[in-house]
């Protein structure tokens, strides 16, 4: 923080000596201090989650610090219901991501590459699906399932997750399609490649970063979803649903540990992605 402040200071302080220097230097610290305080505020619940995963509690309630232990990491899977819920969430997220990526990539290609009748309506549906409140998505899917007497459970959760993820994949891929240089595909065809080979060897690799970003987004949306899932889950519990239920009686430390591991995994992927992108550019 201090390095940023001093690095910023010289070029602006120097040419404006007429303004009272002391006051300006003091006010210059307000915004950076504020930003760092806000960043602390953003991370406070995360810090608390991580720290209290090491709390050596005796009873049920994880409220005050009682000493350090690694017990909850050793007994991570000691609560059968929680373990099942986490397994359900991971499985649902993987399946929903695969379906969303396949369908979303195709939509992205269709919307990014072609002009066709009904494209405006298609765009409108995608935009509405992204901006509709989750509550309305969940409630309307539940209406469909009760009206058709479709049994709610694992399948309906996957259907619902694909329904809200597919549009996000589609817009991510479409952005990438619009940025493609058509000359590359034309060159491949001039060299005798058939359309399928061109797609597989040229188009798909060029779209890969967009598809990957869409996949990560779909996975993150699915594994974190509470609202829509709570309408269509039937008897199946997912990780967010289990934690939500536990907030009434006291969240066990295993939840903190699982949250911490998911957090670290996500950060590792994001940082790795950023480092790779920087290396590619360099």
């Amino acid at each position: 923080m201090s390095t940023v402040a001093t690095r910023q200071a010289p070029p602006e302080v120097a040419p404006a000596p007429a303004v009272p220097g002391r006051r300006r230097r003091w006010t210059r610290l307000i915004l950076p201090t504020y930003t760092w305080l806000m960043i602390f505020y953003f991370s406070l619940p995360i810090l608390v989650m991580i720290v209290f995963g090491f709390n050596d509690i005796q009873g049920r309630l994880n409220l005050r610090w009682q000493g350090f232990t690694l017990r909850w990491y050793r007994e991570l899977f000691a609560i059968p219901g929680l373990t099942t819920a986490l397994r359900n969430s991971l499985l649902i997220a993987v399946i929903a991501t695969i379906i969303s990526v396949i369908l979303g990539t195709m939509i992205g290609l269709a919307l990014g590459r072609y002009r066709f009748r009904g494209k405006g309506a298609y765009d409108l549906v995608i935009f509405s699906a992204i901006s509709a409140p989750e509550l309305v998505l969940g409630a309307s899917l539940l209406s469909l399932f009760v009206t058709t007497q479709f049994v709610r459970g694992f399948v309906t959760i996957v259907i619902a997750h694909v329904a809200f993820s597919v549009s996000f994949v589609a817009v991510t891929v479409r952005a990438r399609v619009l940025g493609l240089d058509p000359a590359l595909e034309e060159a491949a065809q001039d060299l005798g490649a058939d359309p399928w080979t061109t797609f597989r060897k040229i188009t798909l690799p060029l779209l890969a970063p967009g598809i990957l970003a869409g996949a990560l987004l779909a996975f993150a949306l699915s594994i974190d979803d509470y609202v829509v899932t709570s309408f269509v889950n039937g008897q199946v519990e997912t990780f967010p649903l289990w934690v939500y239920g536990a907030t009434r009686v006291g969240v066990p430390p295993q939840v903190n540990v699982m949250g911490t591991l998911i957090f670290l995994g996500g950060v590792a992927i994001a940082v790795g992605n950023a480092v790779l992108a920087r290396r590619q550019r360099a």
């Binding site: 960043i39 619940p45 409220l63 309307s140």
Partner: protein, 289 residues
């Protein structure tokens, strides 16, 4: 040659069809089914019949107008709080973030790597009557023993603000980042004070970001029910809680569908009025991003 162009004309439909079908069956049709359900009467044992039962709508409003109004009021307060809290931060990062801009943004997005429900549960833990903040303050006598934050409006508004603040920071940052700093220098050269340069140059140029931020904060906050379920009490119930209860516990699908439709209509009309009041081009520009 003709075969090829024929396939070329069909290609977009073939490529777009599977995803389009999924969205039609599991997004568009459910909305229509929900609308039809909202006009039915009956109960879950003997089944529902379509009877143009418009009274579901008036009954929804009679029974739950308090929660409707409360949700809108909460959403207005939280959106305003988010705007005020996010603007200075987005401004500083955009103009003074230098080479570390993306690092700051990453730090602001850190909460998204933790489950939404766990984040909110973590606030419940922090604000607990005997927890890490209130416990010590009560022990040293700074707060009375019966002081509490959970189950109050303050806790719910705090939780909502925390959870939706990043949604406000990002569009503000994007808009401010696009403001050319030489415009600010030009204002200074023309003897504008720092305050009037901000008021007349920077702020107007950041308005698309303000509009986008307000939209993507207001809509989810108004329909949120996780924060008030975990941090609030019976006096902070929002329309989302009611819809969930009427659907899943009372099994009164027509009434619940009517409420969901009312909520959606209210939000759509709100967005439309907002767009008209501010000029459609700006909202369209935002929507296209």
């Amino acid at each position: 040659m003709s075969a090829r162009s024929g396939r070329g004309r069909l290609a977009p439909y073939l490529v777009g069809l599977p995803g389009g079908l999924w969205l039609a069956i599991f997004f568009v049709v459910p909305l229509l089914v929900m609308f039809s359900l909202s006009l039915q009467s009956g109960n879950v044992e003997s089944g529902f019949q379509f009877t143009w039962e418009w009274s579901n709508y008036s009954r929804a409003w009679e029974l739950y107008s308090t929660q409707f109004i409360r949700s809108v009021v909460y959403a207005l307060i939280v959106t305003a709080l988010c705007l005020v809290l996010a603007y200075p931060m987005a401004y500083w990062i955009a103009f003074y973030g230098g080479a570390r801009k993306s690092t700051y943004l990453f730090l602001i997005l850190l909460p998204f790597f933790v489950s939404f429900v766990i984040r909110t549960a973590s606030w419940k833990f922090i604000l607990n009557d005997q927890g890490i903040v209130l416990g010590p303050l009560k022990e040293i006598g700074l707060l009375p023993q019966d002081f509490h934050l959970l189950a109050t409006t303050t806790a719910v508004l705090g939780g909502l603000t925390y959870n939706y603040l990043p949604f406000m920071v990002l569009p503000l940052y994007v808009a401010l980042e696009r403001v050319d700093p030489s415009l600010v220098e030009a204002a200074h050269d023309l003897f504008a004070s720092r305050a009037s340069a901000f008021r007349k140059v920077v702020f107007p140029l950041s308005l698309p970001g303000v509009f986008a931020g307000v939209l993507i904060t207001f809509v989810p906050v108004a329909s949120d029910f996780v924060n008030t379920s975990i941090l609030g009490g019976t006096s902070t119930t929002m329309i989302g809680n009611v819809i969930q209860t009427v659907y899943l516990s009372n099994n009164n699908y027509p009434l619940a569908s009517a409420m969901s439709f009312l909520l959606m209509a209210a939000l759509l009309i709100g967005i439309f009025v907002y767009a008209r009041a501010l000029g459609t081009e700006q909202v369209m520009e935002v929507a296209q991003r």
